[in-house]
């Protein structure tokens, strides 16, 4: 089963690995946006997660602690965003940009001692004989825990948003914060928690980049993954399972273009490496045109600050 030197089973398996960072970051951002907050700092939080996760994993020798460290590092940065936008009423777009600019600078500062080091290896979940099944084993039962965790997070977020009271309150806050406030829900507190969840998820995604996907620390390691995650939320029309589809789509494109580069396809390397960004634009255009179907599904209070006058 070889298509021009590319084995489909390996391709699908590596696609699943490649999409983990953007999937985690996008599902985190989906929750944030469902709460009515537009955090454009995903790129900055991801790269903070990447450097914090890498540093923690190298210092402790444990990839597990590395992921925790990455999540905490990015969460700390997202807390700055929460304080600025929720308590100090700063513009969300500008604060998100600040988060990205600051995160890129701080991460390259923190990562200076870690260039060229190999991180400890993240083990594959042992499924025993299942992993030896032809094709299916390679695709489904031969991954590290984060691949399964990312899918589990999507399922949990979907279930919480759809079936739980907590999800209902979160959506209410995102649709109409004044009404939610009048009903006695703590708008600011809920939003701060949502922002920090988004930060933790972006951090996990970033840590996955530096610990598994690449795996080493280089400046600007995220290379726009955070922005693609933001685009995936739009692509998904704010629906959790579509985030999974979107992330696999983009993971697929980036894996495919790398494979084509390696296989020596006749398309110039430059066009291949710009393809994920061009396809992001194309997807955004398709999703946002057509009577604004996805725009109609956007949380109504998205990007608006809330200030309780009384």
């Amino acid at each position: 089963m070889d298509l021009g030197g590319i084995n489909p089973a390996v391709l699908v398996a590596s696609l699943m690995v490649a999409s983990v960072p953007i999937m985690l970051a996008a599902i985190g951002e989906l929750v944030v946006e469902k709460a009515g907050v537009l955090n454009l700092g995903v790129e900055g939080m991801m790269i903070m997660g990447a450097v914090c996760g890498f540093a923690t994993a190298v210092e402790t020798g444990s990839p597990f602690l590395g992921f925790i460290g990455g999540a905490l590092g990015a969460m700390a940065l997202s807390f700055v965003f929460a304080v600025l936008t929720q308590f100090l009423q700063a513009n969300q777009v500008a604060t998100g940009l600040a988060l990205t600019l600051f995160g890129l600078g701080l991460s390259s500062l923190m990562g200076q001692g870690y260039v060229g080091i190999k991180p400890p290896l993240t083990d594959v979940v042992p499924f025993g004989p299942l992993a030896d099944l032809p094709v299916v084993g390679r695709i489904l039962f031969d991954h590290d825990p984060m691949v399964y965790l990312s899918i589990a997070v999507i399922a949990v977020v979907w279930a919480v948003l759809k079936f739980s009271r907590m999800g209902l309150i979160l959506r209410a806050v995102g649709e109409n914060h004044d009404a939610a406030h009048a009903l006695g829900y703590k708008v600011t507190r809920i939003r701060v928690l949502a922002i920090m969840f988004g930060g933790a998820m972006a951090g996990l995604g970033g840590a996955y980049l530096s610990l598994v996907r690449v795996p080493q620390w280089t400046d600007g390691i995220t290379a726009g993954a955070g922005w693609i995650a933001l685009a995936i939320v739009v692509f998904a029309s704010w629906k959790p399972w579509r985030v999974l589809i979107g992330a696999y789509l983009f993971g697929g494109i980036s894996v495919l273009q790398l494979n084509l580069q390696a296989a020596g396809a006749r398309i110039p390397v430059e066009y291949l490496s710009m393809s994920p960004y061009l396809i992001t634009i194309l997807v955004l255009v398709i999703m946002s045109s057509g009577k604004g179907r996805s725009a109609m599904n956007a949380p109504a209070a998205l990007g608006q600050n809330f200030h309780a006058s009384r």
């Binding site: 600040a98 600019l101 922005w227 634009i281």
Partner: protein
């Protein structure tokens, strides 16, 4: 308990005071950061903010100040128009790159001409390149309602790929022995962006930046488009009733900011940078976002803010050679400035009251 009370209209005093306060707070926090890196914070802050102006090598560094401030001001003035109207062009970095490639491409295509028209033509081509690159998000926004933030940002990555293709491929110096990078404009007198007053750092890009500041000031104060920009930003609904066409506003704001970023690119490549190279993009397009906010989206404010930000670049380079301060520290420092700016902006829009007892 502290309570925020919205002011009926923004405080005039704090509008002027907040940028200064933000710079002071950033110095304090930056000092802590530098101390954490094991450098003497007082020496570091002095090296960044004082020495370029009044230190030993100030005669040279003062010139560098204008070289750095020129592109920052040029780009930031353009961005501020859109930011005022709620149109977020954050892809100025890409437009800057495309301006440089278009302009330099035109210049290099007719190498080695001695016509005096070539430099003006390159400038126009540069502005056109930036404008063209900004029209992509603008048209997608107006035709398909696509988010201009994401599209303009994605195009930065595309532009960077084109840049590396230009440096290693279609604009590579044919006599460069296969090394990446175009011909150097310093060996191409007719197309060169010369230093107008020796040692001052004053080149045509700086002149253009000053013109842009004045033009933007007049536009905002005296022109219908300026009024519409301000109206659309402050009261979008009222703007619609007043007959402001959102489509036209998006195209104008994106176009102006793209063209100015393209101008900054061509002036940089034909002057201080000298050639198209892989690492030509230096992040001016992103730093200009901070400059625009530091200048409170006001053209005259941006002029000052650009100079302050240029100071952190020049001083930061000094600090990295003299004190071994990592250059990434300066980037973090600049990011911090934007945080503090946004935080203290609270003071101009809200009053902080101390409430005693329970709120009624």
């Amino acid at each position: 308990m502290l309570v925020l009370e919205k002011r009926p209209s923004p405080s005039r005093f704090w509008q002027y005071a907040t940028p200064v306060l933000a710079v002071v707070l950033t110095m304090l926090a930056g000092g802590l950061l530098f101390a954490a890196l094991g450098k003497d914070p007082f020496v570091a802050i002095r090296t960044i903010f004082w020495d370029p102006l009044f230190g030993e090598f100030a005669f040279y560094l003062r010139g560098q100040l204008l070289v750095k401030a020129g592109p920052l001001i040029l780009i930031a003035v353009g961005l501020s128009l859109g930011f005022r109207a709620g149109i977020w062009n954050i892809g100025a970095e890409g437009q800057y790159i495309m301006g440089a490639i278009f302009g330099a491409g035109v210049g290099l295509a007719v190498f080695p001409t001695e016509s005096r028209w070539i430099f003006p033509v390159m400038i126009v081509a540069g502005a056109f390149g930036g404008w063209l690159w900004s029209m992509i998000p603008a048209i997608l926004k107006t035709r398909f309602n696509t988010n201009e933030i994401l599209v303009s940002l994605m195009l930065v990555y595309v532009a960077q790929t084109i840049l590396s293709k230009a440096a290693t491929g279609f604009l590579r110096n044919p006599q460069g022995m296969g090394f990446p990078g175009s011909r150097n404009f310093s060996t191409y007198p007719a197309a060169r962006n010369v230093e107008l007053i020796a040692g001052s750092g004053m080149h045509w890009g700086v002149v253009a930046a000053f013109i842009a500041v004045i033009a933007a000031y007049v536009l905002l104060q005296r022109h219908m488009l300026g009024f519409q920009i301000k109206l659309a930003g402050q009261a979008p609904r009222a703007a619609r009733f007043a007959g402001v066409q959102p489509t036209r506003l998006v195209v104008m704001c994106m176009g102006i900011s793209g063209a100015l970023a393209g101008l900054a690119g061509i002036f940089e490549v034909s002057g201080p940078a000298g050639q198209i190279s892989i690492d030509f993009a230096s992040g001016y397009g992103f730093t200009a976002i901070i400059v625009a906010f530091l200048g409170r989206l006001n053209p005259l404010g941006i002029l000052l803010a650009g100079l302050v930000m240029a100071l952190t670049y020049v001083g930061g380079e000094m600090a990295s050679t003299n004190l071994g301060l990592p250059s990434a520290a300066i980037q973090a420092f600049q990011g911090m400035l934007l945080f503090f700016l946004l935080a203290v902006d609270l003071l101009s829009n809200y009053r902080i009251r101390l409430m005693t007892g329970r709120a009624a």
